[in-house]
Amino acid sequence: MELTQAEAVMDLIHARSERALAAAQRQLQGELGRFLGELINATILTLSQIEVYIDFPEEDLPVENRRQVVEALENVLRGTVRLLATQAYGDLLRDGVKTVLLGAPNVGKSSLLNALVGTERALVSPEPGTTRDYIEERLHVGPHLLRLIDTAGINPAPGVLEQRGMAKTAECLSRADLILWVMDAALPCPTLPPEFAQHIRPDKTLLVRNKIDLVFGQNLSDEDLVQIKGLDLDLPLDVSAVTGVGLGELRAAVIDLVDGLRPAFFAEEQIAINARHADALRRAADALQAALSGLTAVPPLPIELISGDVRAGLDALGEIAGRVDNERILDALFANFCIGK
């Protein structure tokens, strides 16, 4: 640990209120502590199954079962990644849901944004391609805070300026928690360029058919249906930013989708790990991944190197829940194997 880190922890201890500290402590003793404890115990058990074959080569041990070790480590890795996902939820709570508005020029993305926000924050003009850069707006939708990111439109034949805007859009899409893909009800939907389409996932994308007031009752074209089905998306929500038709349904759909982003496994007590936890968990995940790669390589890496990676993972988990003493690995080893001459 470096001094700067140590000072940061000191700040935490002194600068924050007793209640903040108590709250953090409660979380460690609560759901997070319990979940971490399970991960740590599973890792200790696995490490003991590795170490017994290193430290007791002369013993009459059962045949080494690497498959079991791999499965156990995969489980711990999954748990670690799940726990890490709660940081994203923490960010979601704190910073808002990153929501990207996507669509061809002039489908009325900015109008829709304005209708949702209720102010004239985005610049709206009938000239296609007005929004070349992206702008941000925050709004509450039900219990959620949405950070709306308006993007430059999709242009099949972009100029230099538009090209730059599109690269930014692709980047926004890759990091989006929620994508509102807006199409013009009166026009055929342009085919999404592959660099956009790769970020379209059904669990984070809502398709919106704007300007429904202009074509009331008209169905989607077959071409549009093929593209939507191809991306595995639900049928679009019909709305009109001008008349307000369908905006209520859109809000409900947004709330529903964002609810789904919250990790499902901490039902009662909310876990939202902090940045320090996330850093340790990320290092744990990296180390476990390295161990798994070593185990499954052909030929596998020497076992003492794999053990080193598992141990590094355990140490990283221990940074959150408390250092894991070597003795606990030996405890597990002697409890599970008949050792000794």
């Binding site: 640990m1 470096e2 001094l3 880190q5 140590a6 000072e7 922890v9 000191m10 201890i13 002194h14 170490e51 290193i54 430290d55 007791f56 080569p57 002369e58 013993e59 009459d60 030929p299 596998p300 890496l301 020497p302 076992i303 003492e304 190197l305 053990s307 080193g308 141990r311 940074e319 408390g322 250092r323 003493d325 070597n326 003795e327 690995i329 030996l330 080893l333 002697f334 008949c338 050792i339 000794g340 001459k341």
Partner: protein, 668 residues
């Protein structure tokens, strides 16, 4: 012999087991006038349990002992009757040499070594108590000498205590009890009172040993032989060792004639003898189950805690009831005896049951027992009462080593003995103690674990106890510890120079392989020699084991081929594991920062705001010498360490600022 208070010894060592012998030799070799007292000069360096040295982690420790000028390695090489390298199929870091020894030859050679050692006097007497005086500061006490059963007192500046299992030793065979630290030997009954008087806490531990069998009664055709390696891995660094007069038990040195190792008839690793493997049967299990109530351990006769890694046969059948049979090794006790040690059959059942049990085992149906199995309980002083130098925190100039510190094993004992002996001698000269860091070797891990965490059972070393075991391959012991050997004067100038030269050759060759490329005419393609070695070894079925590098299909450059075998192995290890070793070194560098932050002996933990109550209690109880040590105390968590670190750092900076702004202290 100097024996009055006016003319004391520099160091008195009590006990001549594996700890005591190394302590006495190390102390005398660094120039301290040393007295070694033992209750029986005929049992010097006795292997009270199995006649073997080395094994996992222990083998590496023996090589470290050799690197620090100790005797265990060379003594094993010259009296070993079977040598095997364990874990040969795994990487070099976890490979360990192990040897069966001729038990008597081992003792005789070590006794003779003690007799020939300048500055060292031997005397047979049982130490019955310590002589204290108030220490110079007037607080607490220091030891100034020892009393013996012969009513002779001996005085010394420092005293090293290595009591083994003899401190209030009590042996159990079923319901039968005998006082003594070893079958046929005495018990040190009064010395414990001296420790208690000085405020040193004592607790009980237990250990056990199996029966010994007569070889003529065994049917080896029903057992599986286990042979030594054709090319034995020895313990001592013969490649850098001085051509000192090394003598052999069968060829004692004769005045005026210098005997050399290579001239001896029984040269290291030659004419090896096998061990034999057999198994317990269902009948053995039944006998144990039926008679459990008669076992000293299961009938509540024994209060001490035994080692989990060395369970009695009762424990094995009770705790692992579903395991149908247990493996047993018959180990020969020497070339000149037909006595066999039966490894794996430690028990405290009554003798009559032992006989039936032994005879229920294939090959042992008609076995004659020469000595019974027994359990022994003894006092130990929880080692958290020691400084990392192995000096007592309670009594100045009093050092502890071996089983009295709660350890088990000859190698663990010898390691501590060596360190305690060196430090007892250095204390008398006012020199800083020798402390091996955790990242430098198993000896460092051993002592740090003991003084920081203590132990609940007889402590044995395992490679998994070492965070940096990748750095602890047995072949690198000399290079890891040479700076300590130099500082403490543990090796001759000749040997130091040879180690330096060896290290230089290894470093240069590693660098050359990493920086040069094979000639394009070899058709190996891009990359340095290092890249090719890593690639070739990683493809091989044996992983990266450099020992198999001889089989590597690379036309390695002649500079490499010209190195000695051990040097080639070290070079290949460093090249093949380069990335992992570098990562380990970075880890060590990060950790050693906190080791450098010292905590003053009189540090007031109550001043530190923000420590949790549990940590405060633990820190005040164990008084760590550095922030690094504090971090290894169980219950002290990273946040507590941060608090402590910032406090110490702030204090240090303030003190530094005060010094720079006020070069001359103001007078008041």
């Amino acid at each position: 012999m100097p024996d009055s208070p006016a003319l004391p010894y520099d160091v008195i060592v009590c006990g001549a087991g594996h700890a005591g012998c190394e302590a006495a030799l190390a102390s005398a070799r660094t120039g301290a006038r040393t007295l070694l007292l033992t209750g029986n000069l005929d049992t010097v360096a006795q292997m009270s349990c199995n006649p073997a040295i080395g094994g996992q982690a222990k083998g590496q420790m023996v090589r470290e002992i050799d690197a620090l000028g100790g005797e265990m390695a060379i003594n094993t090489d010259l009296t070993g009757i079977q040598f095997r390298l364990l874990n040969e199929s795994k990487g070099p870091a976890v490979q360990s040499p192990r040897a069966q020894c001729d038990k008597k030859a081992y003792q005789f050679r070590l006794k003779h070594t003690l007799e020939l050692q300048p500055n060292l006097w031997l005397f047979q007497a049982t130490v019955t108590g310590l002589i204290f005086s108030a220490n110079s500061a007037g607080a607490g006490r220091s030891v100034v000498g020892v009393r013996t059963n012969l009513d002779l007192d001996f005085f010394g500046c420092s005293v090293v205590v290595t009591t083994g299992t003899f401190l209030r030793g009590l042996m159990h065979i079923g319901q039968n009890k005998n006082e003594g630290g070893r079958l046929g030997d005495f018990s040190a009954k009064t010395l414990s009172a001296s420790f208690l008087e000085a405020g040193i806490e004592l607790q009980r531990l237990k250990t056990g040993t199996p029966p010994r069998l007569s070889g003529r009664s065994l049917d080896f055709s029903k057992m599986e032989p286990q042979y030594g390696d054709a090319a034995p891995t020895l313990f001592a660094f013969h490649d850098t060792r001085d051509p000192e007069p090394l003598f052999h038990v069968e060829h004692p040195s004769v005045a005026g004639v210098t005997l050399r190792e290579e001239r001896l008839g029984w040269s290291p690793g030659q004419a090896q003898v096998p061990c034999w493997i057999t198994y317990t049967t269902e009948r053995t299990a039944q006998l144990v189950r039926d008679n459990l109530h008669l076992s000293a351990m299961y009938s509540g006769e024994i209060e001490g805690t035994g080692p989990r890694y060395c369970p009695s046969i009762e424990d094995k059948f009770v705790r692992f009831a579903d395991k149908p049979r247990h493996m047993l090794f018959l180990e020969p006790e020497g070339r000149a005896t037909n006595e066999f040690y039966i490894n794996g059959l430690s028990t405290s059942l009554p003798f009559s049951i032992q006989v039936e049990m032994v005879r229920s085992i294939p090959g042992l149906e008609r076995a004659e027992l020469l000595r019974p199995a027994y359990a022994v309980e003894y006092d130990f002083a929880p080692p958290t009462q020691l400084f990392p130098s192995l000096e007592s925190r309670k009594v100045d100039n009093l050092f502890f080593a071996g089983q009295i510190n709660g350890t088990s094993g000859y190698e663990e004992a010898a390691s501590q003995g060596l360190i305690a002996g060196v430090n007892a001698a250095r204390k008398g000269r006012g020199e800083a103690p020798l402390i091996i860091a955790r990242h430098e070797g198993y000896i460092g891990v051993l002592i740090d674990d003991l003084v920081t965490k203590g132990t609940r059972e007889p402590y044995r070393m395992f490679t998994s106890r070492a965070e940096h075991r990748l750095l602890f391959n047995h072949g690198s012991a000399e290079m890891r510890l040479v700076h300590h050997a130099r500082t403490c004067g543990l090796l001759s100038a000749t040997r130091l120079a040879r180690i330096d030269a060896k290290a230089a050759r290894i470093f240069a060759e590693v660098q050359r392989l990493e920086q040069t490329r094979p000639a394009s005419s070899l058709g190996l393609g891009q990359g340095t020699w290092g890249d090719h070695i890593r690639h070739t070894l990683a493809r091989g079925s044996a992983g990266l084991a450099p020992e198999l590098a001889a089989k590597v299909e690379l036309p390695l450059p002649s500079e490499f081929a010209d190195l000695a075998k051990e040097e080639r192995a070290e070079v290949l290890y460093r090249v093949a594991y380069a990335g992992y070793l570098a990562r380990e070194e970075r880890h060590v560098a990060r950790l050693s920062e906190v080791e450098k932050i010292k905590i003053p002996a009189d540090f007031d933990y109550d001043q530190v705001r923000g420590l949790r109550a549990e940590s405060l209690i633990k820190l005040k109880a164990s008084r760590p010498v550095s922030l690094g040590q504090a971090g290894r105390i169980s219950g002290v968590n990273p946040a507590d360490l941060s608090v402590l670190m910032v406090y110490l750092e702030t204090k240090r900076r303030r003190a530094k600022d005060a010094r720079t702004t006020h070069p001359t202290p103001e007078k008041s």
